[in-house]
Structure formats: structure tokens, C-alpha cells
């Protein structure tokens, strides 16, 4: 203990000084946060407006659809990713496994706990029970897939198709039944990010391939697009799409703010994604392409079966980083296009009659910040884990 202290905190007098200053700052910061959360924070504003903050004016009687989406996605996630078995001697003990689980999911569970405590309705408790059940079921399904021979022999396409059926059906139902103008809060942040990620993926990959193509004109067009988009600020693009997007569409289409922002997010992220994928493609040794050619594969097959899968795997962390920044950037849609997303709503609720002019801004921003922070932080930690699991840079 004393050695640890001396090594880590009091090596020299200079070190000791730094230690004292930094510990002082840290303790003061911790105390202020603690005091704010426990004593001075007036959390009734969050309590009253929780639904508004999370889902906006989403109709109350179709909330079950959202619950369904989350539960089904939890099941799918557990069934696809959950419960990796480590063989034999490497298997961690129960305590280690518990530690690992706490480190991975502790934050999410804690936030879920806070949300349930704030909501405090019977409904939310049932919702939590449903999620936990879905997770358990998902893990069990994954185990069956490993243990039961008949299931193991199913081709991956069918297996994953069946698993993804529930979340996809729920999402389609939700989106079909919804009136986009009523969506808001954290839900719309999630929705914008999710949709843009789905849409920008094919475009980004095509652009990356185009930029590396051997055809000079294609290369030029892709390069111009990528550089132009990367040189422009997202906020101005959003503003521009707010006033100009309808000019580029046939008059019968009337783009709403969600449509406008998804278009911009997609086109914007695709350019960044293209650069990331290009980096991945450059990291693939030339021998891979040559091996593909030696086997007599056509160029398209070489790209889609040999180089691209490896390239995408190599850049998973960078991709997830890009998606995290997209998730954070969805807040801009509120400022530029008046979408009632989380940040916009948080500022709006401080102007309600009961809370007007009494300085509730700290509480609402802390709450919004907590949700965004936990979302991004968990994603980035998971990406590091995936990176380790895939052994990027070690093969």
C-alpha cells in the first residue's frame, strides 16, 4: 500500500504537489456533482416531463409498440451477441464474470434504474421485466443454437433472418402507425441516427469503392463529392436543406423536417464513412486481391467476398466512432430544423408555467447530457471490446 502510494502519488516533491492539486480538483468536482444530484437538484421537472423528454408527444395508446421494439431488439441482441463461451482453462470465474458484466452493463442498468425511479409507474416495471425476460430468452436461444444439432445445422442466413424477424416487424409496425410530427425527445434522436446509419452504409461503401476505382472519371466524381461534403459544416447543410431541399424534389413530394434531416445526415455521414472504408481497403495487403484473381474470381466477387469484408472488419472502431458522432449530431436537427429532439425539448420544458424563470436549466441539461453521454460511452466501450474480440491488428 505504502509502496503503491509512493510510486503513484508521491514520487518527487513536484509529483506530490501535482497530486495535491489534482486530488483537490477531483474531490471538489465530485462533491459538487454529488451535492447537485442529491441535495440541490430539483428533479421534479424531469419527473413531470419524463414522457415528453423521452418520446415527445408520441400517442399514449401506442406506446406498447415502442416497448415491443425495445424488447424485441433486446432479444435479438442477446441472441446474436450474448453469451460467448470461452473454452476450458481460460474460462473466467464467476466473480470475474460478474465484474465484467458490471463493467459492461452497469451504466446502462443504472440509467434504466434512474428512469424507472423517475417514471415510477407500474407499466415501466412490467417493461423492465419484459426486457430482462427477453434478454434471458435470447441467451437461451443462443445456447440452444450451440447445443442442439438440428439448430446448429441451419444455415446462418435463415437463422439470423428468423431472429431478426421480431424486431424488424415491430419497427415496421411502429413506423407505419406513427405520425412523425408527434415524435420527439430521445426517440427522435434515436430514430434519426438509426435511419441515417442504415441509409448511409451502402452509399458510403459505394463512394469508397468509387474513390479507389481504376476508372479516372468515377474516381474524380467520388473524390469531389467526398471532399466537398467533408469541407462543409453539418449545421449549415442542415439549414440549407431546411430552405432548399424542396427545390430539388418534384413538387408533389413535400419533405418534412425529419425527411430533410435524414437526407442530410445520410449524405453527410456517407462521405465520412467512405473515407473510413477507404482506409480499411488500403490496409488490405495486395496479396489478397491477387489471390482472388489467381482463383479466377471476377473483380466484383473479389471486392465483395475478399477485400471488403476484411476492410470493414478492420475499421469497426472507426465506423462506430462515426456513428457515435452522428448520434450526438442529431441534436443539431433541433437547432436547425426545429425538430423537437431531446435538447430542444429540454430547453422548452424550462419555459412551462410551473418552471419558468426559476433556473431549471441545470437539471434538464444534466438529464439530457446523462442520456447522451451514457449512450455514446457504452457504444465506444463496446466497440473497443468488439475490436479486441475480432483481434484487429493481431492477425
Amino acid at each position: 500500500m505504502r509502496t503503491w502510494l509512493r510510486r503513484n502519488l508521491f514520487r518527487t516533491w513536484w509529483d506530490a504537489l501535482l497530486t495535491i492539486v489534482f486530488s483537490g480538483v477531483a474531490l471538489w468536482a465530485m462533491w459538487s456533482v454529488f451535492r447537485f444530484v442529491v441535495f440541490t437538484g430539483r428533479w421534479e421537472i424531469i419527473d413531470v416531463n419524463l414522457t415528453l423528454l423521452l418520446v415527445g408527444r408520441f400517442p399514449k395508446d401506442s406506446l406498447w409498440l415502442l416497448y415491443g421494439v425495445v424488447t424485441a431488439t433486446a432479444f435479438w441482441g442477446a441472441a446474436v451477441l450474448g453469451g460467448g463461451e470461452v473454452a476450458g482453462a481460460l474460462a473466467p470465474s464467476r466473480a470475474e464474470r460478474l465484474m465484467l458484466a458490471v463493467r459492461r452493463f452497469g451504466l446502462l442498468v443504472a440509467v434504466g434504474f434512474v428512469l424507472v425511479a423517475l417514471a415510477g409507474v407500474q407499466e415501466s416495471i412490467w417493461f423492465v421485466v419484459a426486457i430482462v425476460a427477453a434478454l434471458a430468452l435470447g441467451r437461451q436461444v443462443k445456447k440452444w443454437r450451440r447445443k442442439i444439432t438440428a439448430l446448429r445445422q441451419l444455415p446462418a442466413v435463415i437463422w439470423h433472418g428468423v431472429l431478426a424477424l421480431a424486431p424488424v416487424v415491430m419497427m415496421v409496425l411502429t413506423i407505419r402507425s406513427a405520425d412523425m410530427r408527434l415524435w420527439g425527445g430521445f426517440l427522435i434522436n434515436f430514430y434519426l441516427a438509426f435511419l441515417s446509419i442504415l441509409l448511409c452504409f451502402p452509399l458510403g461503401i459505394l463512394l469508397a469503392l468509387g474513390r479507389r476505382s481504376s476508372l479516372p472519371m468515377v474516381r474524380l466524381v467520388c473524390a469531389i463529392y467526398i471532399e466537398a461534403v467533408r469541407g462543409a459544416p453539418l449545421f449549415v447543410l442542415l439549414l440549407l436543406s431546411g430552405v432548399a431541399l424542396n427545390f430539388f424534389l418534384p413538387p408533389q413530394i413535400d419533405p418534412g423536417p425529419v425527411f430533410r434531416s435524414v437526407t442530410v445526415f445520410t449524405l453527410f455521414t456517407a462521405a465520412y464513412l467512405a473515407e473510413i472504408v477507404r482506409g480499411g481497403l488500403q490496409s488490405i495487403p495486395k496479396g489478397q486481391t491477387e489471390a482472388g484473381r489467381a482463383l479466377g474470381l471476377p473483380t466484383l466477387k473479389i471486392i465483395f467476398l475478399v477485400t471488403l469484408p476484411q476492410a470493414l472488419r478492420n475499421v469497426i472502431p472507426a465506423q462506430i466512432g462515426q456513428f457515435i458522432s452522428l448520434f450526438k449530431d442529431t441534436t443539431l436537427a433541433g437547432a436547425a430544423l426545429s425538430i423537437v429532439e431531446m435538447l430542444k425539448i429540454s430547453q422548452a420544458i424550462t419555459k412551462q408555467d410551473a418552471f419558468l424563470g426559476r433556473g431549471y436549466i441545470y437539471e434538464v441539461l444534466a438529464f439530457a447530457g446523462l442520456l447522451f453521454w451514457v449512450g455514446s460511452f457504452v457504444m465506444s466501450k463496446e466497440s473497443q471490446r468488439v475490436e479486441k474480440k475480432l483481434g484487429v491488428g493481431q492477425r
Binding site: L239, F247, W373
Partner: protein
């Protein structure tokens, strides 16, 4: 053949967009040219010569200057703080390491707009006192929710610039002389000390020559008088940009320090360099060579992110565009112009970064 096909499809998509645009514009009869730039701007900017009759063109130039003002200060501060925090993350000291790590992890994972809103609404407008009860630390500054006033020089800006230029030129001259001398004789010269002294001497000489004076800000009834006043929105934008970007810079610096081969640090230890010298002379120069492209990217990001100033009414380019559009200028050309200016800034900066990069890159023989 494939090339032709791809180009054809791209061209047809572009044509489709263009055609829609033409039809829609013809239908709605809005102007699409840049003539609005000559109209009177009909708004004024606080603290600037721009008045209601000045053309919109001038307002845009002023906005561009404001953007550059916040960006340059932001880049310098973010690089400085980010480097320090990045080094701190690798410190042997547990307290320093943890605090730096927490700083990075917290700021990196928050949306910039949230930080900005927090700085503007919660810190500057709420936490800072009203002007009647302004904080006056050391009688030098006046801090209130109308801005921060700091001591400043009396006199014209040009002479100040001339003096500063002379100072910097003298400093560079002296330090290069020192370097030549120490290279020739092999003696150790305290370059930083000497050139700092020269800087101060030249500055004092210039001051006494031109008769410069400092004014201290004081509180009067509705605001502060004297000194120079930093706008609250400028302050909020600058601080949040610096906080956000420095957390990214810190990660880059940490990564590049780790990328310096271990032998380099051990060699520095072997010739008994002090830790600070080791960082300054051995590790950081090599780390920055690796970090340069990523740091350039972060600087560009900061410039682009400064467009968020429009969300808190800092009068930078985007905000000016929004105001002129609100005052009746056609929206599409105004925002397109803004976009083009940002694009030009980015392209020029990346050109500079590329040149610096090429000079820094390891020349392999």
C-alpha cells in the same frame, strides 16, 4: 463501358435534380442570384462599424472575421490544453492520470451543442453575476453576464500590430542567433530566457516610443467601461469549442505518444534527460509527426463546428446568413454562399496542413 454507365447514371441523377430545381424556381419566382449582397443589411452588429445602411456584403465579411476570430483562438487553446491532457493521461501519477482520463471521457461523449447550450444558458447567463454585482478579481477584470472585460491598450490597432510584429521578429532573430552560436561553440544557451527578455524589452521600448497606455475596465451603471469587452456569446462558444476539441486532441496526442517506439524514451532515460526535457526534446517531436494529420482534421472540425455559434447568437458567418435570410434575402443563395466560404476555408487549411505535413514527414533515404 462500366465507367460510361456509371457516369451516365450520375449525370441523369444530377439532371433530374437540376430539372426539378429549374421547374420549382420558375414556379415560385424567388431570386437565385447574388444581387442581394448589395442591398442594405438593415441590421447592425454590436461592437462593429456595421450599421443599417451597409451592404449585406460587409455583414458577411464581418461574420467571416468573427468566425476566424473564434476559430484561431479556439485552435490554439485546444491544441495546448489537449496536448497537456494527453500527456497527463500517460502520467505515472495516479491523480493526474485519473483526472485527465475523466476529463476526456466526459467531454468526448457529450454532444457539442449540449456543451454550448450549457455554457451559454447555464454558465454565462445564469452563473455569471448581473452587472450590478459583477465579479472584479484583482481590480483587473470585470466578469458579468454582459461579458468579460479585460485590460487593453489605448491607441490604434495598427501601431499595436507593428510593435507586436517587431517583437516577434526580434525574438526569432535572437533565438536563431542563439542557435547558431550554440551549434558553433557547443555551449548551452538559454534561448527561451534570452528571447523572452528581448521580446519584453522591444515591447517596452515600443510602448515608450508610441506612448501606449493600458486601460482598466471599471463597472459603470449599465455595463463596463474601458478595457476590451469579450462578448458573452464569444466566451461561451470559445470555451465549449475548446473543451470539446481538446478532449479529441488529447486522445490523438496520447495515441501518438504511445506510437513513438519505446526505445526512444529508454534512450532518453539512458542519457539522463530530465522527464520534461525528455518529453520536449525526444518524445513530443516524434509524436507530433504522427499526430499531425489527425490534429489538422480536428482543427478543421473546430472551424466547421464554430458554425454552431448561430445557435447562441454569436455573430459568425452562419448567424449572419440566418439574419440576412430573416431580413428578406433569398435563402438558397445566402446559405450556398456560406457553404462555399466554409469550403474555401477548409480547402485552404487542408492545403496548409498538407504542406506542413510534407515538411514534417520522415524523409527516408
Amino acid at each position: 463501358m462500366l465507367q460510361f454507365f456509371i457516369l451516365l447514371s450520375v449525370a441523369s441523377v444530377l439532371y433530374w435534380l437540376w430539372n426539378n430545381y429549374r421547374l420549382n424556381v420558375a414556379q415560385s419566382k424567388i431570386p437565385t442570384n447574388f444581387q442581394f449582397l448589395d442591398n442594405p443589411s438593415s441590421f447592425s452588429l454590436p461592437g462593429n462599424a456595421l450599421d443599417q445602411s451597409a451592404p449585406v456584403r460587409r455583414a458577411f465579411v464581418q461574420g467571416l472575421l468573427n468566425t476566424l476570430r473564434v476559430s484561431i483562438a479556439g485552435i490554439l487553446l485546444a491544441l495546448l490544453i489537449g496536448t497537456l491532457v494527453g500527456i497527463g493521461r500517460l502520467s505515472k501519477n495516479f491523480a493526474v492520470r485519473t483526472v485527465s482520463g475523466t476529463y476526456v471521457e466526459i467531454l468526448r461523449n457529450l454532444p457539442l451543442l449540449l456543451l454550448l447550450t450549457f455554457m451559454n444558458l447555464a454558465v454565462v447567463l445564469k452563473l455569471f453575476p448581473r452587472i450590478e454585482s459583477a465579479w472584479v478579481p484583482l481590480e483587473l477584470f470585470v466578469i458579468s453576464n454582459r461579458g468579460i472585460a479585460i485590460p487593453w491598450f489605448v491607441g490604434s490597432g495598427t501601431t499595436l500590430l507593428i510593435i507586436l510584429g517587431c517583437c516577434i521578429a526580434a525574438m526569432i532573430l535572437v533565438s536563431s542567433c542563439c542557435k547558431v552560436y550554440s551549434n558553433r561553440t557547443g555551449k548551452k544557451v538559454r534561448t527561451i530566457l534570452i528571447s523572452g527578455a528581448v521580446f519584453i524589452v522591444v515591447m517596452v521600448a515600443g510602448w515608450s516610443l508610441f506612448g501606449f497606455n493600458l486601460t482598466l475596465p471599471v463597472v459603470n451603471e449599465r455595463g463596463s467601461l474601458g478595457g476590451i469587452r469579450i462578448d458573452p456569446s464569444y466566451f461561451a462558444l470559445l470555451v465549449s469549442l475548446v473543451l470539446y476539441t481538446s478532449s479529441h486532441v488529447a486522445e490523438i496526442v496520447r495515441g501518438s505518444i504511445l506510437a513513438v517506439p519505446k526505445g526512444q524514451g529508454e534512450a532518453a532515460d539512458a542519457i539522463a534527460l530530465e522527464p520534461i526535457k525528455k518529453m520536449q526534446l525526444v518524445i513530443l517531436p516524434q509524436a507530433f509527426r504522427v499526430a499531425m494529420p489527425a490534429l489538422g482534421n480536428q482543427s478543421l472540425n473546430l472551424i466547421k463546428n464554430s458554425s454552431l455559434g448561430a445557435a447562441i447568437s454569436y455573430f459568425e458567418l452562419t448567424q449572419i446568413a440566418q439574419i440576412t435570410v430573416g431580413n428578406g434575402s433569398p435563402a438558397v443563395p445566402a446559405f450556398t454562399l456560406t457553404l462555399i466560404v466554409y469550403l474555401a476555408i477548409s480547402l485552404m487549411s487542408s492545403l496548409i496542413i498538407n504542406i506542413v505535413n510534407r515538411r514534417l514527414a520522415l524523409v527516408e533515404r
